[in-house]
Amino acid sequence: MATMHAVKDAVSAEAETAFAVRVDGLDVTFGEGETAVTALRDVNVDIPEGALVTMLGPSGCGKSTLLRAIADLVPASRGEIKVHERTPEEARKARDFAFVFQDATLLPWRSAIDNVRLPLEVGNPGPAHADPMELLELVGLKGREKALPGELSGGMRQRVAIARALVTRPRILLMDEPFGALDEIARDNLNEELLRIWTETGTTILFVTHSIPEAVFLGQKVLLLAAHPGRVKEYMTVDLPYPRQLPVRDTVEFIKITAHLRKMLEEC
């Protein structure tokens, strides 16, 4: 009896947790009638549980739209999205995922620590949450918890935004070009730290970027989208072992992958 239970649990656990996000035949259309714009057409993607998937594509390919559709910020016109077997709306209400925007979107009148606490003060935060102080330490901002966003650099603000996203212990982290506005050094640092955080927390990460090296450096898998209308062009696995450090970008393997992606992007 006990073994049967265990087997059954294992089977159902596998079925439920194998994929963090499943996108099935998704269309997203903005507007109606003559002026309607198809942002995404027939997108089918599975994001494995615990994976770090980067999304790459030319501007207008709908990579942000796909992320926003998963986050219940944009409605699906056709098809289906499942986030841990739930609709995006249910997943949002259950705090299944957190979102990191390109702009850090910190509340400027709140200190760093109070910004990290924001998700615990609104909606239904649920019982399981991380210690905001420890999270600031995790993102390398120990000692700056009292600082107002105006007193922090762009990179530091984005670190606070990441800490804020992690405070409710989400199972999925949706990141929309989070480091796009940062200088290269800050971006490199945060890329390495994101990999460290991913390893430490085991969170599934979906990361939108327009930088090919960033997509390859971070991603276990790279989802390449083509534009007009937005559709999946390629969904490839990056064959580079973790832990990855920045010098990996100078290896032949890395350059081969980026060259391949660049060629694919040009065809888009």
Partner: protein, 272 residues
């Protein structure tokens, strides 16, 4: 990181020394200019021997301040009371109305044109009507001071409550925040710079409102004193009353600025 913080701290210390000089210079310069203009004014009075009932010199005005000090002081407070109460009521109603407008588009469409219409009526024309209705007491003065504050605050507050970064609203949606939570946690705070811009205007206009109301029908307050002094050709008292009114506005403005500095410690991300 600690090194940077340390070197920044010592740089700040070095700066504060020269900053003190620059700051006292900033204060000294306008003070010197003001004294210079007063001296010039007195010289013009003396050189052209202008008679005091046409235009008194600063010395004569100072004399009126000393001679009629208690009278000016009493009327200063009466006008202050009217202006301050008008400021509070006018702005409070404007703020509450702005909140209603932002939460209910229908109420905005229904009442905003009326608010615009009220704003287009010259305040000096409304004053006699209100004096007829409410008599010579405090209430018409407070109402007129409130009316004059009302519109700029309403418009600014509506703009402020709506001027929330769309990405911040996306964030609140991802967090499944309710409208009330968005209002208290985001909209109210981000409207403060807009609100204080309006309150600074209101701090000076509410004094104008109170004085205009006193002109129409009153036997107390700085407005009444201004009328009385001009009827009696008591120019030094007239000037002293006008200066008192301006001091009153400066006082209110300073109080609003003080409150602004206390409440908005964060850097304003460019209020358009």
């Amino acid at each position: 990181m600690a090194d940077i913080a340390q070197s920044q701290a010592s740089a700040n210390e070095r700066k504060s020394g020269s900053a003190w000089l620059a700051k006292s210079g900033d204060r000294l310069l306008p003070l010197l200019a003001a004294v210079g203009m007063l001296v010039l004014w007195q010289l013009i009075i003396w050189i052209f021997s202008i008679r005091p009932f046409i235009m008194p010199g600063p010395i004569a005005v100072l004399g009126a301040f000393i001679e009629d000090g208690p009278k000016l002081w009493l009327n200063f407070w009466l006008t202050f009371l009217e202006a301050a109460l008008g400021f509070i009521f006018g702005n409070l109603i404007a703020i509450l109305m702005a909140v209603a407008f932002v939460h209910n588009r229908t109420s905005e469409r229904a009442f905003f044109p009326i608010a615009v219409f009220i704003n287009t009526i010259p305040i000096i024309a409304v004053a006699p009507i209100l004096v007829l209705i409410f008599g010579n007491g405090y209430s018409p003065k407070i109402i007129i001071a409130a009316l004059i504050c009302f519109f700029p605050t309403l418009v600014n507050m509506v703009r402020g409550l709506k001027a929330v970064n769309p990405a911040t609203l996306d964030l609140m949606r991802v967090l499944s925040a309710s409208d009330a939570e968005i209002f208290w946690k985001v909209r109210l705070q981000s409207s403060l710079p807009f609100l204080f811009a309006a309150l600074k205007i209101a701090a000076t206009t509410c004094v104008v409102g109170a004085i205009v109301a006193e002109w129409i029908g009153s036997n107390y307050g700085l407005g009444a004193l201004i009328l009385l002094a001009s009827y009696n050709y008591h120019a030094p008292l007239l000037y002293a009353s006008v200066f008192s009114a301006s001091l009153l506005a400066v006082f209110l403005f300073a109080m609003v600025s003080f409150a602004e500095r206390r409440m908005i410690k964060w850097k304003t991300p460019a209020v358009h």
